[in-house]
Amino acid sequence: MTSPLTRTQDGEGRTAVAVQLAGLRRVYGPVVALDGLDLTIGPGELIALLGPSGCGKTTTLRLLAGLEDADAGQITVAGQDMTHLPASKRDMGMVFQAYSLFPHLTVRQNVAFGLRLRRVHAAKRDQRAIEMLELVGLSTQADRYPHQISGGQQQRVALARALAIEPQVLLLDEPLSALDAKVRAQLRDQIRRIQLEVGITTLFVTHDQEEALAIADRVGVMREGRIEQLASPTEVYSRPATAFVAEFVGLTNRLAGTVSGGTVTVRGRDLPLVDRSTPAGPVTALVRPEAVTLASDSSGESGPLVGTVIASTFLGATSRVTVDLGDTTILAQLSTSDATALPAGSRVALMIRPDPVLVAVDAPAVSEE
């Protein structure tokens, strides 16, 4: 059964479309923003492009929207080549990071704007606008002006406006970045809920990995104009394809280790490898803080896995504890109650959970932007 929100004017359900980006290239003078990017978004799928500023994620979105021209490559939506179609003819809905709404129009008029451009009759326009506002939960604010509502509400209106025209694709350009942390979390879940309900193919751009992991069907981690890994959130997190992905998504400890056989030896422990075929030799192992457990150590011995707590960062339900191992420091993530039992100065013994570990061969520091 199709949702009433995907029903077109003649009552038929609208099916979600696939989006294909092939070999996209974009340069600004000497700077290569996108370098032959390939991406396929399945029908109804939400893909999040994640990466540091300058990685090309916003450029990708804007090329898809038609707000910028590609220097090379092809854009296909629902089998139709859109590479040379102007933005106004691409039938996509976009939510911007800031200043989305037209300040001189009410919320209702904003949402109805796209329909007005399409010469939809006033009554139908209004009906659809209210429908959309109910979808985002703001029908009571219909006659307010943008400056009279909060940032989070403005973005919801922007979403309603983008969906009102029944676009084929939904584009979100860091829609939550300008909002408060609490609003961000609520709104992000709401966006995902609406996206699933409407079933629209969506591209979501963000630099916040928590956002990307929370709502996406697949996450594309980008760096310097290329996608380093495109996979489900769990996979990107626990099986990062490159050191950059491992370090950008979530926190990571970098520990010296040696590879031999199918395992890497880190501080006297053997840990399985993500990539069994890694050649033997010295490497830097990337270990997640939550894979490190601490226990109070009163034995007085020293060893590769014994150290002193330096500091604790309180994060709410969990805490991040920094431990000094003599030759390096390591981060462990514990429940707060466990962490309070180990104040600064306590001697602790570490255990590393035997999860498969990614290693960077021969690792001089992988620089993050």
């Binding site: 707000l67 106004s88 704007f113």
Partner: protein, 288 residues
Amino acid sequence: MAVATTTETGARPVRAGRRLSLPAWVGTVPFLGYVGVFLLLPTGIVLFHAFQNQSGGFSLSGLKVLGDSTVRGFFVGSAELAAVTSVIGAVLGAILAYAVASGNPDGVVRRLYLAASGVLAQFGGVTLAFAFLATVGPTGLLLHASWFYDFPQGIGLIYVYFQIPLMVLVFMPAIDGLKVQWREACENLGGSAWQYWLHVGGPLLAPAFLGATLLLFANGLSAFATIWAWENQIAYTVPQQISIALSSEVGLANANESAVLALGMVIMVVIVMTGYVLLQRRAARWLR
């Protein structure tokens, strides 16, 4: 070490043994005093003389001269000149402002045009009249315009010369205030460039544009030096007549005519400026 703190009322704290406590607004007295003597007092004097009769008492008889058709002609002339040059200046200035604003914000062109506008908006008066005399006057280099001494064309052309830069200065912030996201959102929702200007850009700029036009109108009403250098025998406008009246009033006890004319001018300008301020506020809400 004790740190001086401010009290709730903003009064300066008492330092032991040194100063007495004064309310903070005393700090603005020099300014208020200066403005009082050199701005408010003269304005008061104008009002006072306007309502004075021959023997020095209060009377509205002086205002009767406002009903005189010659005098009304001065006001109509002023309004006509101001209206024509403000509208032309506003439209042309808006086009120029858009051309400058749509370029590189840090570029040479913008800086040049803004500096030029800053200077040319003040480049009025005697020097400007002579410059135009040199260009299109009877012995002008570009052409000998027979209409140079006609009212309002001849002087109007000169007025436009400083109205346009003033428009650029006043209106450009509004154009800068148009966020690129609005253009892109409109495009994304299916709008063409024409539709953007019709439904979004135009309405958003309208208050600022109208307000700026009013400012140009007030500017056109108030200008004196330019038109005096252009023509000082025949008065077409109120400022010219004020000057003629003032010089004929020297030595006379009753400075009435010039004061009444001045009062009339002030009323006109106040109405226009009120409109400007209200429109500015609307524009600022959207475009800041």
